[in-house]
């Protein structure tokens, strides 16, 4: 169960969690998603927040509602790859911003990433 950062909107964080599961293949195209009520109970969040998660994901074309049956992930495989790329891009931007805040310049950041010493900290 993930712990939310209450400093930013919960619905965005839940959306990211679902997008991540999609990008990793933990959820597959066409899969049935939990009902918004079930999502609320699962993450201990407000039910309206849970509904909003699906509303926003639907607007992005990531999922859709089948009347009487529930919410399903889109079958469009073309939707999935861009999600992974978009998320990766967001993480990279956040990383570069943080590093710049520390005073690092572009070349220094690239050197750091190339430096094999960092591999020890990562599995």
């Amino acid at each position: 169960m993930i712990k939310f950062d209450s400093k930013s909107p919960i619905y965005l964080q839940v959306m990211n969690e679902i997008k991540k599961q999609l990008a990793l293949g933990e959820i597959k195209p066409g899969d049935k998603l939990p009902s918004s009520r079930e999502l609320a109970v699962l993450y201990s969040i407000n039910p309206n927040t849970a509904s909003r998660v699906y509303k926003e994901l639907e607007a992005m074309g990531i999922c859709f509602k089948k009347r009487g049956l529930g919410t399903f992930v889109t079958k469009e495989i073309n939707m999935i790859k861009p999600i992974k790329q978009d998320m990766a891009r967001d993480y990279v931007i956040a990383f570069i911003t943080s590093m710049r805040d520390l005073g690092y310049k572009k070349e220094e950041i690239i050197d750091i990433l190339k430096n094999k010493e960092w591999d020890n900290g990562i599995d």
Partner: protein, 232 residues
């Protein structure tokens, strides 16, 4: 749809002004958090809306009419203290509730008991504070009420019981009812709230949608609370 509305609501106990000019509008389908330090008026507000106290000034409207005996039937209040007699067991508390409240749903109660890991044969004095809290929530949420006012349900409650209580609250919400929670334990309940109402010494100092508050301030409700109440 607005279910409860208070206009310039005030309550005095002798010279003590417990609530002053409180104006709130509560809509169906939402979970509200009334937050503030001890003595800020949270319980007083809930008791006024549930009809346990009478107001000193202002108006309370329930379901588009002035608060009445009829409207009170659809408002369930759960106090923070245990209100059972020592001779009772869980089964008899259910009978008690069933007698008192027309809208008590025995089947729902059986289901909630099971989810909470409680049994009808358990005697009240043998319950831990967590179990007692779970029982009170199970009894209150088994009423088919329109407005639920739940006063500090997490006080003295262990982690696992807290989770169960929150999940019961989440599961109980529908488009036809609303739930009001009061608590000190803001970090635990903030993700469950639609709107937050901060009460400071009897007056409302903040009334916002939780997600809006987070998005516009970049802070959690806990942080906002600390800022507002740092001198309290």
């Amino acid at each position: 749809m607005e279910l409860i509305k208070t206009t310039n609501l005030s309550k005095k106990f002798g010279r003590n002004i417990a609530l002053d000019g409180v104006e709130i509008s509560l809509e169906a389908g939402k979970i509200y958090g009334v937050l503030g330090p001890n003595g800020s008026g949270k319980s007083t507000l809930m008791r006024l809306i549930s009809g346990l106290y009478s107001k000193s000034n202002g108006h309370i409207e329930a379901f588009s009419n002035p608060l009445s005996v009829e409207s009170k039937k659809h408002i369930a209040y759960m106090p923070t203290e245990s209100f059972f007699y020592d001779y009772m067991n869980i089964g008899s508390t259910a009978m008690y509730f069933s007698d008192f409240f027309e809208d008590f749903d025995n089947d729902r109660f059986d289901l909630l008991l099971k989810e909470m890991g409680l049994e009808k044969s358990m005697k009240i004095p043998s319950l831990s504070s967590g179990m007692n809290a779970k029982l009170r929530v199970a009894l209150t949420m088994s009423r088919k009420a329109t407005v639920y006012l739940i006063d500090e349900p997490l006080n003295g409650v262990d982690l696992v019981a807290r989770d169960l209580i929150l999940k019961t609250v989440i599961n109980s919400l529908s488009q036809d009812n609303l739930i009001v929670l009061s608590s000190h334990q803001i970090d635990i309940i903030e993700n469950v709230l639609d709107e937050v109402i901060f009460l400071k010494e009897g007056t409302i100092v903040l009334n916002k949608e939780a997600e809006d508050a987070r998005a516009s301030s970049g802070k959690s409700i806990v942080q906002l609370y600390k800022e507002v109440f740092k001198d309290a």
